[in-house]
Symmetry: D2
Subunit: 346 residues, 4 copies
């Protein structure tokens, strides 16, 4: 590690995960940004694409072919799916540690990954080695990891919300329901008709009820927590807002428990998981721009259904913020270094 | 009925249900608006409050004490809860028919109503007589009704969505889940902090998980369809948009069925319920300003959970439009008279 | 004209102007839609693309090559710029009347048009014949026109706002300022990054200060009203909303006048221009979905600057609604036929 | 000054300026928050009202009568207009320095203030002493001030935008035009109908064309820059977004100048004013949550009208951020201390 801290490279970085990562790293005291690569935007100043970075990030996008990624301590992939798996082997062999914010290394079952992502995996051996970067579950393994698979946004909100119930084994694990709502930035900075303001504003809809890539990722994580295969119905929705995920989780209780205490105890040591007081309804804006997951747990009418409300900012705890949290763990910094921004409210 | 059609009075009408009712009635060929009363706004031109009505509605708000409601064929109550029950008896006795768009006559169990609405009911005998105005279920009784209790917005979307499943008796009726999302106009045109644009925009949250007034109304309707008491978890959410309800419904299947055919057959004769093709995800904007409920039915992974997506405009099929639909039924007009507006998209 | 009214063809129609035109025509009693062509979407049901039309428009997009446009009474071009000029000659020669909602025939100066639109004009002779379709100025010529050039959205709001001042000749015509704000649907239904909800929502910006295609169109119209060349600074802005244009116009008074009376008198006979009472501030939502232009005129501090506020729905009075208004004039229908929808508020 | 830095008291703090000030102070390394008073919310935890502060601000609102404001180094007034003038004298006499984020001390002409604010001023002598807290103009006087009048949001954006032109004396100072657009948070966290999401979303309107309180404040500042009375037409608009002001400024040039160089030179040493490259159009979101004013200057068609685009976040550079900037100047900290957050984009 250089005296200025970790030397950092970013591959990609022209999307929303990229600009959010840059915003966070620019305020991180222990890292030095060495290179950011983009084939398409090579030569363009980063701050020309993202004017919020003017005066703070002087770097230009560089040609991946000529970049110095191999001399960095850590490389973030803020790329479309399928890019990291092509480059990871070379970097790892050069001693560079990697955090892939895309999905290439999230699913342990390579065949399942190939089915959902529609391409052959270029690097299955590293899949086995990769550590799933949800610190609240895998913190110790992240510490030593060479390759961290940063979780998806929905999977972060859903897994953290179900975690105490599954660890405690007090719900029907064959019939979990996750009704999740996401802001439009979750679809990325890609020109598409259905995410135009004129299409997505003042509108609400479900999508992917017949199947969504985050479902196997969530199921893998929940099964890990449960110690057995679980059954999940996952229904994502597009909400007319920029940032935020609100997961509303339903499970059938199979045993009595003080749910509020269960949640508070499980997350008592977690800096970035905030269990709200009983009866609360967390707003997504209460985490806008901040690396928090806020959770409330309800048992309506004292019946046998538990309802968990879990909110994150999809670009922070659901992507770039969690990546920085993983970096802090990997390099031995206090976990909240550079992640102390408060949510922007209103 | 006068030669110009039904003579109409409106009590209230300074809220969103009121302006929407005026918009629809102004374009209805068979009715004549005689009076609109508001104690607070008496003397003010309706179009001064709602400039979209300029040039089309010349009426002024009049003092309720001096109004000619008793000489109308039909009076709509577009009032806060608790107003209609005070005035209904006198009007009914005078031969005036009533559609209450508020909640005074929706719950048959008066004690339950008093518990949720926090006041003593002024007119319990009319509760028994009142017909619940969901035409797709109670059309025949609406035809002759003197007093129609127009359904709530959430209850309309949820009941129409569950209807075929409950009539067919093919789901676990003790564990129905309704995860519902509403635009902010559902909270009415009242000055409150939590529905300010600066609070509710770019934000998403659940509310009332511990209890919401629409839950007993929905449970009453679903129990009627099921022929037995049902169990329901109802979680409403506030979405950052003006209009629209999206209900995502979950039920456990107890018998096999061709769900798509079940829904299509049940609603084949219904003008205002549109069953979408298999695999669809209805947008709320596809009904913005229109008196439709669009429904899609899914069975994710061919598992034992059915997922129903049901969308309405909370101010139209969820309030004023359904009221006009009820009026058409009560006065023998074709059911779609004055309700042929297409949704505004984009 | 057939007994069912005007037979109509639409070229294009997969954009926002197209769906809005379809929404209006579906509710117009005097026209019959015969064909809608789209090379890209040929074979697709119109209502599959625009679900708000389900159940009301059964037509499919057809291949332009095989269409029956030449047998229609009237063809609307709801196409990108540059399409109508290629097809207009053939249709006009076949006796079909045309309303071009795009920009091909708006500028009388062909060289100027070619400069701003970047292509050679395919049909300059028809430019001379085309009538600029702003009924409040050119109604009589529209009546007999074979080819109507439907005005742009900004030009409609700005010209109607300045009209009485220029006709009266009471302002400094060399220094007109139009500060205009538009909803995002004005950019069309094209996949572009800058109009994504995640980019354009909760944001406000000017654009095109260095030059915008609507500037020469506005200048041409205002010069026509003034009887001399005028000087105009036109600054468009992108507002985070779907529909609506708000033009704030500034001019230096050179003579005293009762401005309120001037405006009221000028538009007294105009169905679709509503001069608001003195001191008003029209909302764009007061015309959302409706074919109105609402105008208020102010003279702050009784100084020598007049401020005019002019609002329209860019897709209705600024595009499809004005096109239907022109059709009504061309075919001798009452001008408001099919245009009686009230604005959706809230 | 205590070893932990400046000891701070806040009066008010239940509105948007208050929560934004708390967000900034919580991240400021050189200040210690001692007390926050609110008569209405006394006893409530600050983080209960504003959940984004959970875990970071443990303070409760305290009763103003019992507070320890007089023992603080600095008191911010984040109150409605008219509160600071009642309490300022006592605090100043006790040696406490004050930053009033409300309007009580902004206008030097007390009679003019009383006309616009509708009450008698309680403390006219301190008006004379108060320093207008726009650092880019009055930095030296702020350094020593006992009482700083923090500028309004519109006045900040408009004055910074016009500043170089007026100092250079190259425009017609009798006919300045400021067409300004503000997000809804500018109206404060008050329950009012016109700022409900259902009213203000998907809508755009001007307001206060007949007169707005910020007009005399702007005129006072611009006259100071010009060294003579100026003439101003100020038209504010309400834009459907949470934060942000976009001021579009128009002036008639009376002399030639390299405008880009003029602006760049004037602000070259200013940390918080960013002159964009020629031809730019600053987004309000490029300053969302950040203490910047971004400015672009245009001369359309090389004519005699200059157009300046000036954007700020109304709650940061337009209120709380500028207050912290003033605090830094008053207590000798580097001016950007605690103000290094980057704008949240998207």
């Amino acid at each position: 590690m250089a005296k200025n801290g970790v030397t950092i490279g970013i591959v990609g970085g022209t999307g929303y995960t990229g600009v959010e990562l840059l915003r966070l790293l620019a305020q991180h005291p222990k890292c030095e940004l060495k290179a950011i690569t983009s084939r398409k935007e090579a030569g363009l100043g980063v701050a020309e694409l993202f004017p919020n970075l003017r005066g703070r990030i002087g770097l230009k996008f560089s040609d991946p072919a000529k970049s110095e990624l191999a001399r960095c301590d850590l490389v973030f992939f803020a790329t479309p799916n399928g890019v990291a798996m092509e480059q990871a082997r070379t970097l790892v062999d050069a001693g560079v540690r990697i955090i892939d914010i895309a999905a290439d290394f999230r699913l342990k079952d390579v065949a399942l990954w190939e089915k959902w992502y529609g391409v052959k995996h270029a690097c299955p051996d590293l899949v086995a080695e990769a550590v799933y970067g949800l610190p609240e579950i895998h913190r110790e393994r992240i510490r030593e990891a060479r390759l961290v698979a940063n979780p998806g946004c929905y999977p972060t909100a859903v897994q953290l919300g179900f975690l105490p119930l599954l660890e405690a084994g007090i719900v029907d694990m064959d019939h979990l329901i996750a009704d999740a709502k996401s802001g439009v930035s979750g679809a990325g900075r890609r020109a598409e008709v259905h995410t135009l303001l004129a299409e997505a504003s003042d509108n609400f809809k479900a999508y992917g009820v017949t199947g969504h890539r985050h479902e196997p990722e969530i199921a893998q994580g929940l099964s890990g927590l449960a110690g057995r295969a679980i059954g999940l119905v996952f229904v994502p929705h597009l909400a007319p807002m920029i940032r935020g995920i609100h997961a509303t989780l339903y499970a059938r209780l199979t045993a009595k428990s003080d749910l509020q205490a269960l949640y508070e105890n499980r997350f008592a040591q977690e800096t970035f998981v905030d269990v709200m007081p009983a009866g609360s309804h967390p707003d997504t804006r209460s985490v806008r721009g901040a690396n928090f997951c806020r959770i409330a747990v309800h048992q309506p009418g004292a019946g046998d259904t538990v309802v968990v409300l879990s909110v994150i900012d999809n670009l922070v705890k659901g992507a770039a913020g969690q990546a920085v949290q993983n970096m802090n763990i990997m390099f031995g910094f206090p976990e909240s270094t550079g992640l102390e921004q408060l949510a922007l409210l209103p």
